[in-house]
Assembly symmetry: C2
């Protein structure tokens, strides 16, 4: 029941019709009897500065989620940036502080990290192989290195993007052994697909599955379908697998914590 006292949250994007955040947030609010509502807000690709100014004017709006194509420009519009937002070029969660400042962070990678932990997989001291240096790959790389991964090998079809990401993560987390990789994923505890390969049933794999160590975990960021061609093949070969959906499910609680709607703080 929305009344005059209901606090507002939102997800902004263009297009907006496909977003699922309002359902996830509103179910969370309903379960906990929180007097708040989450809305889809459609702000056009070229209109973000005006849209952000408007969101600042809505005094009962306490925070919002940012999706494509607004994640990079939103970082520039933030008054302050926290967490993985600092190193990556993007933010996806914005909170209004008591003093009115809008503080942004990026929780994609942290969602992946928490998803692994929730399934019983440690990060600290483990060796990660990461295929993909785009938006998801970048978020995962910083979150894994920032969560204590011992090593991180990054492979990307466009080599220059992987090189830039390796350099950035190395600089931000000198204690992590970050290297440029190939399609060969041998010598790692976890092999992750962070490319979009897997969305279509006839997609190939982003790395050489045969090279993965037998005890390693094979993980996805692609969440639809649940069983991507990579996970199907990995399961056939006896690997333990980790679904893409864990990243999204785990991120919800991180968003709520960042927005002050759940107890606790983002884990390091």
């Amino acid at each position: 029941m929305i009344t005059g006292t209901t606090r507002l949250y939102a997800i902004i994007g263009d297009p907006i019709e496909h977003v699922r955040t309002p359902m996830a947030f509103n179910a969370w609010f309903a379960e906990r009897k929180i007097d708040a509502v989450c809305l889809p807000i459609h702000i056009g690709r070229d209109d973000l500065p005006r849209g952000w100014a408007g969101l600042r004017s809505i005094l009962n709006l306490d925070g919002f989620i940012v999706t494509a194509p607004h994640k990079a420009e939103s970082k520039a519009l933030c008054d302050a940036v926290d967490g993985d937002g600092v190193h990556t070029g993007v933010v996806n969660t914005i909170r209004r502080e008591a003093d009115g400042r809008f503080v942004g962070t990026l929780l994609d990678g942290r969602g992946f990290v928490r998803g692994l932990r929730n399934e019983g997989h440690a990060i600290a001291g483990r060796r990660f192989y990461l295929a993909g240096a785009g938006g998801a790959g970048t978020a995962l790389a910083y979150a894994l290195a920032g969560s204590g991964a011992a090593a991180l090998t990054i492979h990307n079809r466009t080599r220059a993007k992987a090189e830039a990401l390796v350099a950035g993560v190395k600089k931000a987390f000198p204690s992590c052994d970050v290297r440029l990789g190939t399609a060969d994923a041998a010598g790692h505890d976890v092999a992750v697909n962070a490319t979009s390969l897997g969305l279509k049933p006839d997609d190939g794999h982003s790395f050489d599955l045969g090279s993965v160590d037998k005890q390693a975990l094979v993980a996805e960021v692609v969440m639809k379908p649940d069983m991507t061609p990579l996970l199907i093949a990995a399961k056939d070969r006896g690997y333990r697998i980790h679904f893409g959906i864990h990243m999204l499910n785990s991120q919800l609680e991180l968003m709520m914590q960042f927005l002050g709607l759940a107890p606790g703080q983002e884990q390091k």
Copy 2:
């Protein structure tokens, strides 16, 4: 259930906690299975231009209601003004046109007119006595004259305000016999209190009840309490009475029509 396809409506004001529009709109949407939601949007007194720019940026926002203190400034921000908004200094309902323009109107007075009609009281050809030349009085004066009232006598404690309103209504509706009045309400078919007197139980009356013709209707704009001191006294003396709440209830359908959410058009 709010999803990415849900259309947005709002009420803007400062403060916002007391508003009842979200409940009324959302009940309307639920009954008719309309995929839309109405939100309270708190925009500060001095921040309306930025807030309006933001509302323009929210492409899935199709319209909004305006309450205090934004009704006059919103008129200035409209791309076009319709109906009673043209003559009065304020608007309270804004619609986004297909071409993106924001068109405003004022439905307070039309709500009063429709409320009378719904209770079986005609407007055309009738003689109205109106106490009050503030926001409500102004809205009612233009709506009554614009709905075919034969005569309109306006009385206000501050005489200059009544004089200005009389002049304005005369000019807009030359066929209506508009005059400056006193506390004497004799010679009219309907006597209306459009002042705030009646909100408190020990409030006096805004006109001389004893002067009202015996067959006349005594009407209120004050809606809380239902039975104001004026209505209590009028009922005691055998007058037919008309509650303030009718104005609000009847306005909801007018708002929905103006916003394109209900069939039909505002009645003249």
